[in-house]
């Protein structure tokens, strides 16, 4: 019961946070100079006053600000995220179109980075001081420090151009007309480069964190007791050391999961991946207010949700932590 009450309370707080964020975003994006009509005029290479007036009228920009805000907030409560006049489609359709691609990418990156990071961290801790440990920690430092777009471009050049093993851009092979399993495999090969690029940064983080936590816990009293009792080394590592060391990694993983919607903009841009991060970035350049607000809203909701999930996972991973008291 405690748990359910805890979750309920957090959800209510989450809704309040979301409304505050939506209002703040509403004003924040209008602080930038220019509006969607001036962007369209700039892209057309020709415009006259009538053209701009027609666009502004169509976009609803000629109505007073508080009216626009009120309409927006009441619409959100019914999950109506508005209409993009520039693209001529409801925002929720635009987001629904692109969200699965992003979730696929960030989900794959998440699983990849978590699995690889934990394994590498355990390996590095077990072989602390040896050359394999140095190799792993140096590699982690490299991928942590290198800018994401550089890794993305380099991996395209190496794996697509020079080796020809993997495709460099896109979600799937356009025009090939694959279906079913063949299509899933095609998407999979297109997914490899972007997901690993996105995941390598967090792999580095998890590896370092896991290694440090494990080394610390290896010296703890209960571990010495287990060894003295004659427990098999592998069992000690799995059941005692790793299970405890994983807690800080869960915190970090919760943070990464929160970025599952908005955190892949660079990767999506360089790999031409049709995701929601790119939608947001392009909407910003185009001053497409409704799309921007919609994407911010979905992003914020994801962060709130994953923070909650992380806290619940904590309780499962570590029974010492009480939630909802």
């Amino acid at each position: 019961m405690h748990l359910l009450r805890f979750i309920g309370g957090r959800l209510i707080k989450g809704v309040i946070v979301l409304i505050a964020i939506a209002t703040l975003n509403f004003f924040l994006i209008r602080a930038a100079p220019g509006d969607p009509a001036s962007v369209m005029a700039g892209e057309a290479g020709a415009a006259d006053a009538e053209f701009l007036r027609q666009l502004r009228e169509q976009f609803g920009l000629d109505r007073p600000l508080y009216e626009q805000l009120w309409i927006y907030l009441t619409d959100i409560l019914t999950l109506d995220l508005g209409f993009s006049y520039r693209q001529g489609r409801p925002v929720i359709e635009l987001i629904a179109d692109r969200l699965p691609a992003t979730l696929l990418l960030t989900g794959a990156a998440f699983v990849f980075s978590l699995v690889l990071g934990v394994i590498l961290g355990v390996l590095a801790a077990r072989r602390a001081g040896k050359w394999s440990d140095s190799a792993i920690t140096t590699g982690a430092l490299f991928f942590y420090a290198m800018p994401l777009f550089w890794i993305a471009l380099m991996s395209q050049i190496i794996f697509s151009l020079w080796l020809g093993w993997l495709p460099n851009v896109g979600f799937e092979t356009i025009g090939a007309g694959y279906t079913g399993l063949r299509r899933a495999l095609d998407i999979g090969t297109h997914l490899i480069l972007p997901a690993t690029t996105l995941g390598l940064f967090f792999t580095a983080l998890y590896a370092r964190m896991m290694r440090a936590a494990m080394l610390e816990i290896s010296g703890a009293d209960f571990v010495k007791t287990a060894r003295a009792k004659g427990v098999h080394e592998g069992r000690i590592v799995r059941r005692h050391i790793a299970r405890n060391a994983i807690l800080p990694v869960v915190t970090l993983a919760g943070l990464q999961a929160g970025q599952i919607v908005g955190g892949a903009v660079l990767t999506e841009t360089v790999f031409g991946w049709p995701g929601i991060g790119r939608l947001m970035f392009e909407a910003l350049a185009q001053r497409d207010y409704q799309v921007l607000l919609g994407v911010f809203f979905v992003s914020s909701a994801m962060v709130v949700l994953f923070n909650l999930i992380t806290d619940v996972v904590y309780r499962v991973a570590d029974p010492r932590i009480e939630v909802g008291r």
């Binding site: 220019g34 005029a41 777009f149 395209q156 460099n168 025009g175 841009t269 001053r287």
Partner: protein, 529 residues
């Protein structure tokens, strides 16, 4: 194309080369080899992704590139700007130059199967485009007295006074033919058919996967026998310039449209096998780049100061280094590719000493001028930096300010700038694309393509107005006069007539053959099998 077709194409080309000892690939047109063959898929990279494909409502660059193959207008233009038949199979101009009669093709169908008739032309020119198109609107409201349907397949346009440039207005981006049966009586911008555009063009719309591609397919009932030759066309949206170049190299895309490839990358890509580069296909647009000056107040209000700036900027360097050798030095408000360009004008050579003299003469007090960087890519930023260096060398203090596209449009449109780069299209005739920048009646807020400099000269206004409606043989002298005045007064500093090279596979034949190039390429293009 799949790798198999690419490999075969490369092999065929290699054999042809060995057999004919002709040059294939490299920086020139591909020579058409034999009869057109049907079939094949072409993938093009276009950037950025357009907001929509309904060409009547929006004329963004990418929209024109894609939708120019879906829609058509009455005429097409070859690279000399000579009108060719399109939906109009012939036309006549009366002796007094006031009445234009167009005979339309009779076996044309819209993509949804309906017949194309003079009613569609009437609706497009007289109703739809008159209301929404920013370039047809001024022409039809100021110059056209009436548009009449004189037969099921014939229309007549009557002018108030002679207006020679009318015949250049029937390009698909300026006057696309709109299906009356879909748009008449509806709210044009809210019409759901905007999502699936219907035209008479060689390619019909199939699908738009947002963020990924637009898919067009051969329109089987196209009125030209056996055409179009290509089966499928995909326009890919790849936001990063380096990724686009890699996509071309790996064979994922076959064409890098003008503007989608960084200018400094073009020489490297041109050296690849089976790669052709051309700067053709932009003759109607003739992008003309200049430094716009806000001449309302301050140092920039002095003519001698502006002339000093013109002498101070090294345009050869700009063309050779910043633009990697692409482009022509611009010496006039009228591009050398546009009608009535004059070679007989005073020139401003790169001369820092003369610049310093003129700047001192103007009484420049050392005020720092703000230069707004045009946010269209790295090359423009480099150019702004080079310009700043040129000006600082002659003692003018310059500060660079950056913003994004929306911010730039807003600032320039509302005259909130001192100096900035800009480039505009000329549309083939000074009355269509040049005068709008220099006449005082076009000082309007909110539009970055108007007379943002605030330049007002009655003589210039009069000359442009007269030249627009003068009989053909009188126009050259009038434009010569106005060019002389503008070159002396320098409301803007003309820099470079720009080239936007298109990079494409050489086995794509008859690809860039018109004055708008890629925009309507797929009527005639074919793949060497």
């Amino acid at each position: 194309m799949s790798e198999k077709i690419l490999a075969r194409a490369v092999a065929t080309t290699a054999i042809a080369f060995l057999m004919t000892v002709g040059a294939v690939g490299s920086v020139h047109h591909a020579q058409a080899q034999g009869e057109p063959t049907r079939g094949g898929t072409v993938q093009l990279a276009v950037t950025p992704e357009p907001p929509g494909l309904m060409l009547g409502l929006m004329q963004n660059g990418p929209t024109q590139m894609i939708a120019g193959n879906i829609y058509e207008s009455l005429l097409r233009y070859d690279t000399d700007l000579t009108p060719q038949p399109s939906l109009a199979e012939s036309w006549e101009i009366s002796d007094d130059e006031l009445t234009y009669t167009f005979k339309l093709r009779e076996n044309v169908k819209w993509h949804d199967g309906e017949d194309f008739t003079a009613d569609d032309v009437m609706f497009s020119l007289d109703v739809f485009l008159r209301e929404v198109h920013p370039r047809w609107r001024p022409t039809v409201n100021a110059q056209v007295a009436s548009i009449e349907k004189t037969g099921d397949y014939e229309i007549q346009i009557t002018l108030n006074e002679p207006f020679e440039p009318l015949l250049l207005s029937f390009e698909v981006g300026t006057t696309p033919m709109i299906p009356r049966h879909i748009y008449e009586g509806t709210d044009y911008r809210a019409n759901p058919m905007n999502a699936t555009p219907i035209g008479t063009g060689p390619m019909k719309f199939v699908e738009w996967s947002r963020g990924s591609y637009v898919h067009l397919q051969r329109f089987e009932d196209y009125y030209l026998d056996n055409q179009p030759y290509i089966d499928e066309v995909y326009y890919r949206f790849i936001p990063d310039a380096a990724s686009r170049a890699v996509a071309y190299e790996t064979g994922t895309v076959d064409v890098l449209t003008g503007g989608s490839v960084e200018i400094f990358d073009v020489p490297r890509l041109a050296a690849l096998p089976n790669t052709c580069v051309t700067t053709d296909g932009w003759e109607i647009f003739s992008p003309h780049a200049w430094v716009a000056l806000n001449v309302r107040e301050g140092a920039l209000a002095e003519k001698s100061f502006r002339q000093g700036l013109m002498h101070a900027i090294d345009r050869e360097f700009a063309r050779d280094v910043v633009w990697s050798g692409y482009g022509t030095i611009a010496n006039s408000p009228i591009s050398s590719r546009t009608r009535f360009h004059s070679e007989d004008l005073p020139e401003y050579a790169y001369d820092p000493d003369r610049a310093r003299e003129l700047i001192a003469e103007s009484g420049y007090d050392g005020e720092t001028l703000e230069f707004l960087v045009l946010p269209y890519g790295e090359t423009w930023t480099r150019w702004a930096e080079a310009t700043r260096q040129n000006l600082e060398d002659v003692g003018v203090s310059v500060n660079l300010v950056t913003t994004d596209v929306a911010g730039w449009s807003e600032r320039v449109g509302n005259f909130n700038f001192q100096m900035t780069h800009n480039f505009l299209y000329q549309y083939g005739d000074p009355a269509l694309g040049v005068s709008r920048s220099y006449v005082s009646t076009n000082i309007v807020e909110g539009n970055p393509f108007s007379n943002v400099m605030g330049y007002a000269n009655e003589e210039v206004d009069r000359l442009f107005a007269e030249a627009a409606n003068a009989p053909a043989e009188e126009r050259p002298a009038l434009y010569q006069e106005v060019q002389e005045i503008l070159v002396d007064e320098l409301p803007v500093l003309w820099m470079v007539e720009m080239d936007f090279p298109t990079v494409y596979r050489c086995d794509l034949q008859d690809f860039i053959t018109t004055a708008i190039g890629v925009n309507d390429a797929f009527r005639d293009a074919w793949l060497q099998q």
